[in-house]
Every structure is written in C-alpha cells, then in structure tokens.
Chain length 587, copies 2
C-alpha cells in the first residue's frame, strides 16, 4: 500500500503516530515559513504542514505542486493549534517529513468543489473529475449503501438474487427495443430487455419462489425530460402471494433502507386508491408532503347565473377548488401567473375563478357580479377557507380540472414553500384500472402491462365493460414520484390469452411474441406477483438530485450520448460486414 | 399468502399445528384407503396423507392430480410412523383437511428429478422446468450465496459497488464487440462492454479508491467449447496498491466465500511464477490437486547413442519426463492410448519413451536398446521412481514438450483417479510476460491487455528486449481453471502511449480508441490495480458443474441461441427502418 491511513480517519487519538497518506492536492497555501497542503481522498481531507525552517527542500517541492497532483506523504500526526471544526480531521495535521509526487496533473477544466465553475456538459465530458467532487462522490456512496440495505433485507426474507440474460428476444411493449445484430445468425437480432418481466415470471414457474435482481434495463425512447436509455431497476417477484403480502414486504424494505441510509423512521404507508388519488389530488403520484386537496363543488355550489359553472355542470363537467392557504394577498401579477399556468396547452383550462378571504375579514372575488358575499362565504366554508386564504376554482371536463388543479397544487406548494425540507411522503396507490381507452384511436390499451391480473371481483365486467375492471396493480409514490410499480400477475393461460385478445393481438402475434410464456403456463404456474423499483429515481430523491443523471456514475446526456467516451460512434466498416448489416441513410 | 409454512421447514416440534402449504405435486401414491402426495417447493418436500375412510371426496380429488399440478393444502402436522431419514421433513406428514388446485399442469416433457430423462436441448427449451430440478435450483441458490459472501467481504473492506454503463463505445481488443445501432444517431453504434476495464480505471482516476461490481460482459466470439456470449464477472479495482495488497485482499475474499458457501477452510495460497508453472506443469493454470511435476532431464541424461534425445539436445530442445506413479503395469493398449494422446495435432509430439519400474524390481523400457539397466535406474532416480512407477519421457521443442506433458499429467490424473473428490487447489500465478510474439505473424501482442503495468525492474528491456519484460499481472487458478485475472495498471500517460505504440497502434488509432482514457491520465491518475473473477466458472467449480451453462439460470446453447425464447430472431422490418439499418445477406 502507498499509505497507512486514509485522509478521513485521523483524530486527536492518533497524535504522535507516524503515518503515510496518499491522495490529491486540493490546495496549497504558502505563508512563507510554512506551507499547508489540503490532501484529499475518497474519505476526507487532511491538512499537511511543511516547515521551511526545518525542511526547506520539502517546502520548495510543495510549492511546485498544482491542484490535483497525486502525492504520497509521510509524517507525524500533531494537534492543530487552530482547529477546523467543519471537517472530521480538523483537530489534527501532519508534519510532513517526506513527500513524493506519484503523478502530476494539468489544471483541471473546472474546480473540484461542490460549487464547481464547470457547466453540466463540461462536467459530463470530464465525468472522472466531476466524481471527485464530494457531492457526486457521496451520491455514489449513498447509492451503494441503499442497494446494500435492499439486498440485506431481501436476503433475510429468503429472496434469491438471480441474473437474467440481457440478450433476449424482441417483444416490444410500449417502448422501442434496442436491438443487437447476431453475427452467427445472419438477419436475426437479440434485443436488450426493457425489463426482465417475462423472465422473472418464468422463474416463478420454475419454482424459485422469491427472486430479486438489481438489473439494467433498456428503452430506446426519444430523449425528453428525465430519461436514460439504460437505467437500473430493483426487480422482484414472489410466488403464492396476494397484494397485501407484497405491500407488507416492500413497505418493510423501504423502511429498512431509510433507516440504514439516512436514519429516517417512516410511518406506515397509506394505501390510496387510484380513484381517490385522481379525485383528491388530480394525479396518480401526488405529493402528500402537504395537504391542499381538490374540493369538488358540483353538489354544493350556491344558485347563481354564472354561465361558466352552470354550463360545466350541465355538460357533465366538474367544478372544483383548491384552498390556497395564506394566498389572499396575491397580487394581480401573481394571479395572472397562476391563470397562465393552468391555461398551458397540456392542461387546457380557460381560466381560474378566485375568492379571497382577506386578513381584515372582507371577501373579494373575480365573480362578485354573480355571487352574493354570503354565497362566496358559503363556498369558502365548503373549502375550509379561513382569513388569509384564497380559493381557486376551475370548471371544465373532469380530466382537465383534475390534471390542472393537481399541477396547480404543486405549483402553489413551490411558491409558498409548503414542503418542509427533509420531509418524506411515501405511500401506495392501489386499484388502478386494467385498461384505458386511447382518446384518439379509441383503442383499448393496458395501463401497466399485459401481465397484470384483473381484480377477481371485477372479472364479471371483463367483456361487457372492460374499462370498469380494476387491476391488482399498485405503485409506490415517494415525494410525488413513482418509485415502484407492480402487480399480481395472471398465472392462468386462458385468462392471459383473453387479455392479449382484448388488447387486439392476433393469435399469430401472441404466439410469436409470447408463445414461450404461454407454453410455460401449461406446466403448473403458481399464483405470483411482484414489483420493480426505479432505482435511479429513488437514489435521486434520497440524495437531493434534480435528474436521474445525478444518481449515476456515467450517465448519457439528454441526446443519448456519452460525452466522455463519445458514444455512440461510427464503427469500423469491417465490423458491419461481419455482422451482415448496413447503415441506411435516414435523411 | 397462500401458505403459512413452506415444504421444507416442518419438524417433529411442529406436530399438532395446523398449517397451510402450497407447491407442486411431485408424485401421488394411491394405496387404496390412503393417498400420499409428495408436495414440493423451493425449500423441500413434505408428505401429505389423505384418508379415504374419513374424507373420500378429498381422496377422489387427490387421485386426479397429475405431476406438477400446483395445489394448496391445509391440515394438521402429525408424526410419521415410518420415517424417511433422507429428507429434513421426513419425520412428519400432513393429514390434509382441504385441498385446492391452484393450477393444473400438462405432463412435463421430462421428469423433474435430478436424474432426469430429458436431454440437454429439451431441458434448455423448457428451462423453467429444468430449474425445478433440485440440482439446478441448488446451483442458483449457491450462486446467490457466493455472490452475497463476496459483497459482504468487499463491503467490509470499504469497497463501493458502482454500476458502469452497458451502452459504451466500441474499442475491440482481442474479441469482437456486440454492437447496438443508435436510432437517434443514424450510422452510429453503441457497443456492449467486453469488460468495464477502462471505466473502472476511470473510477480510480475519479478517486473512488475501491470499486467492485458484479457485472455482465459480452463477447461476440465463435461458439466453441465452454463460452457464452454474455457472462458475469466480479470486477474489482483499488487505488494506491501494489501487487501484494491485491493478493492479500482477494485471497481473503476467496477464503471467505469458501467458508460461507461450503465450509471449506482453504490454506494460504501459493504464489507460483508463470515461468515455474510452465516449467513444472506445462501450463499457466495447472491443477495442483495432485503432484506429478515435469522433470527436465537435459542435464542429467546418461550418455547414450539414442538419436532422438541427442538430436533434441543438439537443437536446443527439451527432454523431460513425468513419473506416472503406479502405472508400471500399463498394457500395450494403454501405452498406445497415451502415445496417441500426445501425438494429437495441437500437441505435436512424435512419441513417448517409457521406463517401467515393475513391482517385482525389474526394469523394462522402450529404449532398452540404447540404455543399460543401470542407466535406466539412473533416470528413474532423477525422476523419483519407485517400484510400480512408470517414467514417460518426451523430447521436442521446449514449448511442445511442456504443453504435451502438461496435458498428459491431467490425463494420467483422470485415468488413475489421482484427484480426491472434494479436494481444492487454489493459488496465484504471477510474473506473466508483458508481451508475446505471434508465432505466425511475428507481431508483438499483449499477453493480458494493453493496460497492464510492466515490472519496474524490467522497464530497462522495454525497447531492447520487450519479450523479456515481465508484467505486474496475475491469475488465480482453481482446480486447474483460471478464475481470476488482474494486474497493476499503467497510470502514466507516457508509459501507456509507449505500450500502445509497441503494440503497433498508430497515433490516430490510439486517439480514436483510447483518447478519452489518455486524456483522463493528464489529471492526476493514482497508482491502481485490480482484477476480475470469472464468476460463472467459479460457481461451476463450486457446484460440480461441467460447463458454465450449468451455473446460469438462462444460458445460451452452444450456437448462441436461447432455445427457450427462440432468440436471436427475425424482427419487424419497421424496427430496422427506424434504426436506419438493413440486413445484408452474408451468403
């Protein structure tokens, strides 16, 4: 070893020991007769002290050190006169006797500090320098800690980690597959798995009973928003279980991971139905770190001539409100911003009605013309408004109102700082519908995937009213992000065939894509169910990142490129000849 | 849960408990007034007992059960009158009160037993049934146990598990890359990693200090022998280390894994130089579960007119022997078989000389004409021959003699049962050469990979005599198989460039393939080194498998096909259009 100790472990109790450290030069301060070096490694920073009086040559060498030089130092641990309480090693320093330069460094393209001067693109190109920043290094350490805690919990519960193959058959569902041309079987392709869904179900057919895997998955999607072409799932499956068994097991696991990672004790998880989530929060992944429910007013609106509300009610729409606590004093400009927010194309409201319950007891509204003060107070009461609150009301088609108010409550939370830093909201959303209708094509689609089991009690509607059938499907929502999705699976061949048929697959398609799975179901498939965690997102939430890029060592940029390696890239034409493929210019 | 207990856990202490089990019907025995069912799950087998007198309907149902039906049973645990000491649950049985069929099964295409009647191809097609066989199921459980022990050890030593990307840049070295066409960047390709070698080195540059990953790797090789297109490595890297640190750390890990998996305490590992391994065993991965060294006779051959030996010595070749202990009585047929064995094209000997030291004290030899009995006894003495032994002597070019006798000692061990069942031999081979010369092209090639550091003391020969330079490279050999390969890496940009140049890469090639890595070396790369374990092979050795296929859940057949999923396969032409590629017929 080039060292006897790391840069993070020396304390007062080590005083007088002679130690050897190795690491990177964070900075050099030359104050004439003394030179100080901050030496950094993964574990921390230790101050080295060199005395020009006693060792002039060493000081001369130290003065030549640049940032990020790799050095090795031997010396005695001494107590510092001016202690630094900000770092764990701040009570000691090393009186260096020898110093060896192990490697030099050019000046890095950005500063290796949490508040770096490098933009994101530059830092992704030099990711190996970006990871030296404690912020990102700590994310990778936390990620490993979290995964370790997951394994610990699952291992103790009798789960077996089993690796499934990554060169599989293309059965695109929802997203596009990445394909891998086969050299030995000209014209044939492997696909990279979008998830090990079918394989883990086959492991249940195989009797493995409890399976998990931390596994890379691949989706060839257009890069918008927070997506990566390869991402990591914690993938799990259990046999002989019902929904409740899954809930208990994985709620326990998430609590264990929190305990081991950040010491937070999570309370028991709420189980919110999909219907309630949509009705109360306008989202299937609401953020419950603050309250602010959607209040439906269809049945409690006072009589009035206000045409917007009356027309909405007449056409079967929804009139609903949010109580914007403490927002009565919003300015015209702020109100306009909220109106613009809900008018955005993807929300589609035409506007918002507001009723302000001012601190002085007066009431003001944008519909004063149509409602008496008493009627406004009546609406306020239905919404639980107090002095200082503002009620915001939307009236439109049900789905638009819910979507818009769901987004608006998040926007208000941001503006009003309703979310306490360090607070957590983790719960289940249950009873998703099995199918949904594509509004444009009118086609019936699955909501999760085609292997989710219908609720036994809703099977009676399967043919007559398929959209009414709930699935045994569930999500786990953390701080407003979906971090888990799962279901009890179909284990009966006949039922699986009925679902495929309902989705419009022909017998030929079913056989080509899923024949091997349906075949497996002939030989004693047990009842089973499971789930998959979006690991990158969970890590992001635990480490305060803003995109899942922030939770990976070597992410792709938003155009799918690895800026560090410059991948994808043009390859040697000989490689394509061997593979029996040619590039076709798409332009 | 569909069960309160598993089929593997009930004991005498559970007698009188009412339990619910679920699992697969292993077999049904109907003896008239009683029906017995062996119920199987991952954890074991439990006997169910149904009484026709007390519950005729239940017995009727049970008689209809076929093999591999999935059932759920509730009943009372009772002590068996005739106990089965072969299974852990053999002291009890369940008096079944209720029985529910959870799923039916067609008759499986082969028997679900360790000694199955299904051939390998059939079992791979129905891998989900193959895995129900306890033998294969136990392999997967052992594999998980081993990996858990590895992680446990490495986590305790401060290693961080970090996931590296699988969609990277193609930098083929040695083997062919699998390519993944990019849809968004027409004409560009990702490659699947042959190993995370460069990425883990960049993690060291990034200061992560100690890294590991259980990771899939991909090589598009022709399928011969024991190869899989995707396989698993335990990949590791450490900073600020020398070879000895790596040896100590991973020797400790292997011992830990043995302790946790099969309870074996391995002795400290020998460190055998590559030169000694070749000289003494004719192989860089010798099996040391038995002795039988190669004995070089060039300096100790008695004077004789035997032209084969004399010509060999004159031309700088090698005369060397094996002492085939206890083989003096080999028949002519057996001797011919050994001669044919060493004459195989890839070994290339022209024959073997034998000297038999018979049990009765006489000596016989195939070269009686050229040597006196005294001379033969002299050779025998040099080889440590005793009564009953046979000395086999080869004379040829050094490399042929070593290769042939190395193979021959393995062949003798097999024939003579020299390897005790359950014995282990695990050790290091060190000091590999850095380069080797391709015998045909005369080109200089790397022995391991181009990132291995030369021995500092041999750097002086780098230009004058490159083949003399030893690398800081090492393998771990287990029972005659290489299960680990590693090295101290080059961390100096200049030296790395010199190695690339020595391998014949142009500056342009170096820049295109490795530019990002050499760039990283500008910014303070620490001294580092590491290794990678071939996990599939290690699991195979621990579980007594014959090919690495036997240690994976879903392996490919020898033609690279997944027989269960039927992959690779022809894909929808629309997918190729989207990817901007076309199939070119190779015939």
């Amino acid at each position: 070893m080039y060292r006897t100790k790391t840069c993070g472990e020396l304390r007062l109790s080590n005083v007088n020991e002679t130690v050897t450290l190795a690491g990177w030069v964070q900075r050099v301060r030359d104050i004439g007769h003394l030179v100080f070096i901050d030496l950094r490694d993964r574990y921390g920073i230790t101050q080295l002290s060199l005395n020009a009086d006693s060792n002039a040559a060493l000081c001369d060498l130290a003065r030549k050190l640049g940032r990020e030089f790799v050095i090795q130092v031997t010396g005695k641990v001494v107590e510092r006169t001016s202690k630094n309480t900000n770092i764990a090693t701040g009570e000691i320093e090393i009186y260096a006797d020898t110093l060896t330069i192990l490697n030099e460094s050019e000046t890095p393209p950005f500063t290796i500090e949490n508040e770096s001067d490098g933009g994101e693109e530059l830092r992704m190109k030099y990711r190996y320098l970006d990871i030296r920043r404690p912020l990102l290094k700590d994310v990778l350490v936390t990620r490993a800690t979290m995964i370790r805690a997951m394994r610990e919990y699952l291992d103790n519960k009798g789960f077996i980690e089993i690796e499934t193959p990554n060169l599989i058959k293309s059965t695109p569902e929802g997203a596009r597959d990445f394909l891998v041309p086969s050299r030995l079987h000209n014209g044939s392709f492997y696909a990279l798995p979008q998830s090990p869904q079918i394989l883990k179900q086959l492991l249940m057919v195989a009797g493995m009973d409890r399976y998990y895997q931390v596994v890379k998955c691949y989706r060839d999607e257009d890069f918008r928003g927070d997506r990566q072409p390869e991402f990591t799932q914690l993938d799990c499956e259990m046999s002989f279980v019902e929904q409740n068994d899954i809930f208990e097991n994985f709620e326990g696991m998430v609590k264990h991971v929190f305990r081991k990672t950040n010491g937070v004790e999570l309370p028991d998880f709420l189980r919110l139905t999909f219907a309630d989530a949509m009705r109360l929060y306008g989202s299937d992944k609401p953020d419950l770190r603050f309250d602010c429910k959607i209040i439906e007013l269809n049945d409690s609106l006072p009589q009035s001539e206000f045409p917007v509300f009356n027309n909405t009610l007449a056409s079967g729409g929804l009139v609903a409100a949010l109580n914007a606590k403490g927002c009565a004093a919003y300015t015209r400009k702020q109100l306009d911003e909220l109106t613009d927010f809900v008018k955005a194309t993807h929300r589609g409201l035409s506007g918002l009605v507001n009723i302000r319950f001012n601190a002085d007891g007066t009431v003001k509204s944008s519909v004063d013309k149509f409602y008496t003060e008493e009627q406004l107070r009546e609406i306020g009461k239905a919404c639980g408004a107090e002095r200082g609150d503002m009620i915001l009301i939307a009236a439109e088609k049900v789905s638009k109102v819910r979507k818009s108010l769901g987004d608006l409550r998040l926007e208000l939370a941001k503006r009003q700082n309703w979310i306490a830093p360090g607070s957590w909201s983790v719960f289940w959303v249950v009873d998703f519908p099995l199918f949904e209708k594509d509004e444009e094509s009118g086609e019936i689609n699955f909501v999760h995937h085609p292997f989710c089991s219908p609720h036994p009690e809703d099977l009676q509607y399967f043919d007559s009213d398929p959209l009414r059938v709930r699935a045994q499907t569930y999500d786990m929502v953390m701080n407003g992000s979906e971090i888990l999705s799962g279901s009890i699976r179909i284990h009966q061949r006949d039922l699986q065939n009925r679902v495929f048929a309902k989705l419009g697959l022909t017998e030929e398609e079913i056989d080509h894509k899923f024949g091997f799975m349906l075949n497996a179901f002939k030989y004693g498939a047990p009842p089973h169910g499971g789930c998959a965690f979006g690991l990158d997102r969970w890590v992001m939430l635990m480490t305060g990142g803003e995109t899942i890029r922030d939770s990976m060592a070597f992410p792709k940029a938003s155009n799918g490129k690895d800026l560090m390696m410059d991948a994808p890239a043009v390859v040697d034409p000989k490689q394509l000849v061997e593979l029996g493929i040619a590039v076709v210019n798409k332009d």
